[in-house]
Amino acid sequence: MELILKDHCLKKQDPSKQVESVTLGQEDWEKRWIEEAQRGDVQAFERIVLAYQQKVFNLAYRMLGEREEAEDLTQEVFLNVFRHLAKFRGKAQFSTWIYQVTLNHCRNRLKYLKRRYHHAKESLDSPVSTDEGSVDKDLRDPGDIPEEVLFKQEVQLLVHRALGMLRKDYREVVVLRDIQGLSYQEIARVVGLPEGTLKSRLHRARMELKEILERMGVTRG
């Protein structure tokens, strides 16, 4: 696998390197940047952030359900990774480690959110209070949006909402496998389960999600 990364970390330093493309095998660049970052090179760490921020942010978003929460958690994750990077010895894959850190943060945050705000969860389509009064959240005029696109958007919203109704441990495996596309082997390492148990959990999670989507009228027989 090859990765081409526009290294905008270098933009500020050297205009001649404004768009430096680095083409390396995944393991090569990862190893090099980790070693540099472990020696205190913040720019190397920033390259790692660039390479992983999308994955971390999206994992957090699907786990927590809210964009703002996900961004806040993503920052926390990378600060923690930065702080503990020296302890990373390369025994596990770096991506596995980052996923583990992210998932642990998500679990803690979900625990907190459950404890505090479960009663205050608002519906996705509940009106929003403003200074001007109450308005509906979805302000788009659907008039010029093709029906197919509207349906797809609606389905995405409902699937996202259905994910939020899944048990936390079910959501984890579904997000890692069916959304993030990790291999069973890697997920097993991230969540610390034998592959057999993981597959069994994933199946149950999908079946439960299927039931939820059925109730929502999303899936059709």
């Binding site: 913040v42 760490f45 920033e46 952030v49 660039l50 921020q53 999308q54 942010f57 999206n58 978003y61 699907r62 964009r67 996900a70 961004e71 806040d72 958690l73 993503t74 920052q75 926390e76 990378f78 600060l79 923690n80 930065f82 702080r83 943060h105 803690n108 945050r109 907190y112 404890r115 505090r116 479960h118 009663h119 205050a120 797809k152 389905v155 995405q156 699937v159 996202h160 579904v174 069916d178 959304i179 596309g181 597959k199 994933l202 199946h203 999908r206 079946m207 999600l209 299927k210 039931e211 989507l213 059925e214 109730r215 999303v218 899936t219 059709r220 027989g221």
Partner: protein, 296 residues
């Protein structure tokens, strides 16, 4: 029959549906697949379940990834930079001898952290309005500030605790059920001093963003003269209270003290953080706040 409806699943159907995952992964041998297909031809229940199972997995895989928020890297970079700066300061100026007992080291840490924040903070080191001594002077104890700094603003503290209760009740009904009025008005958190240099910076930033006020101080027992507790007191505008509390609790080094409130001493390597909601709507004599703050 709809799969969503409750029904007794026939053992054969259960077995078939357990094979959906390896089937979808293409891990089944051809003869098992043809057995399954034969079953689906005769079982509408499993046939429908199979269609919906695949739809579910497809919908998940089609979920569009969200773009990373603009400026995320900059925000991470800024926080790392602040941490690095702090670390250099701390490493250069704070050699911690190994023989110093943990409790003394912790106290020193609090004192020196406060000193540095006071010296290096871009905020004014001069307290505006209420002094920390005033805020924390209560029956049986007196406070001495090791650092005092705040963001100038016009916020005052409510005179009547009940005034604070109303909006907080709406926000935190679960707290109201579990805790007393005082508990609803304030939150105790504990900061692990092992990661203090970074977390102090983050808390400082958080408080500044929320236009709050922050005091770091030791509390000396009036009679014995010993330092009995180190504490950070943070006052946050009511409207930002929930958000700030949530973000504080999200920090790995900060733990919540829901059930330990004022009854369990904080270990010497920890620092208690007291978060108090304040409002800019009312003017308040400081004495009212003292009653909320006092614990000993």
């Amino acid at each position: 029959m709809k799969t969503g409806q409750t029904r007794e699943i026939h053992p054969k159907c259960e077995t078939v549906q357990h094979l959906f995952l390896p089937w979808l992964d293409g891990e089944l041998s051809p003869h098992v697949v043809s057995d399954l297909e034969a079953h689906l031809d005769t079982c509408a229940f499993c046939a429908e379940a199979w269609v919906k199972y695949r739809q579910t997995v497809r919908y998940l895989s089609e979920l569009e990834p969200l773009e990373v928020p603009e400026g995320l890297l900059d925000r991470i970079r800024a926080r790392i930079h602040r941490r690095s700066l702090w670390r250099r300061l701390a490493e250069g100026l704070l050699p911690a001898p190994r023989w110093v007992p943990l409790s003394i080291a912790a106290s020193l840490c609090v004192v020196v952290v406060g000193f540095f924040i006071a010296r290096w903070s871009p905020w004014s080191p001069e307290p505006h309005g209420l002094s920390p001594e005033t805020l924390l002077s209560t029956k049986g104890i007196e406070a001495f500030p090791v650092a005092a700094y705040e963001i100038p603003n016009d916020q005052r503290i409510l005179p009547d605790a009940e005034e604070l209760m109303r909006p907080l009740r709406a926000l935190e009904a679960d707290l109201e059920r579990r805790f007393t009025r005082r508990a609803t008005l304030q939150d105790d958190l504990v900061l692990n001093l092992a990661g203090s240099e970074d977390v102090f910076n983050r808390i400082q930033e958080l408080v500044r963003e929320a236009r709050g006020r922050m005091f770091l101080m030791g509390i000396r027992h009036r009679k014995t003269g010993r330092v009995v507790r180190s504490r950070m007191v943070i006052q946050i505008p009511l409207e930002r209270y929930r958000e700030v509390l949530q973000r504080l609790e999200g920090m790995a080094e900060v733990s919540h003290l829901f059930l330990e409130r004022d009854s369990v001493p904080v270990p010497p390597d920890r620092l208690r953080i007291r978060l108090i909601a304040v409002s800019s709507l009312e003017e308040t004599p400081p004495e009212e706040t003292l009653q909320m703050v006092s614990t000993d």
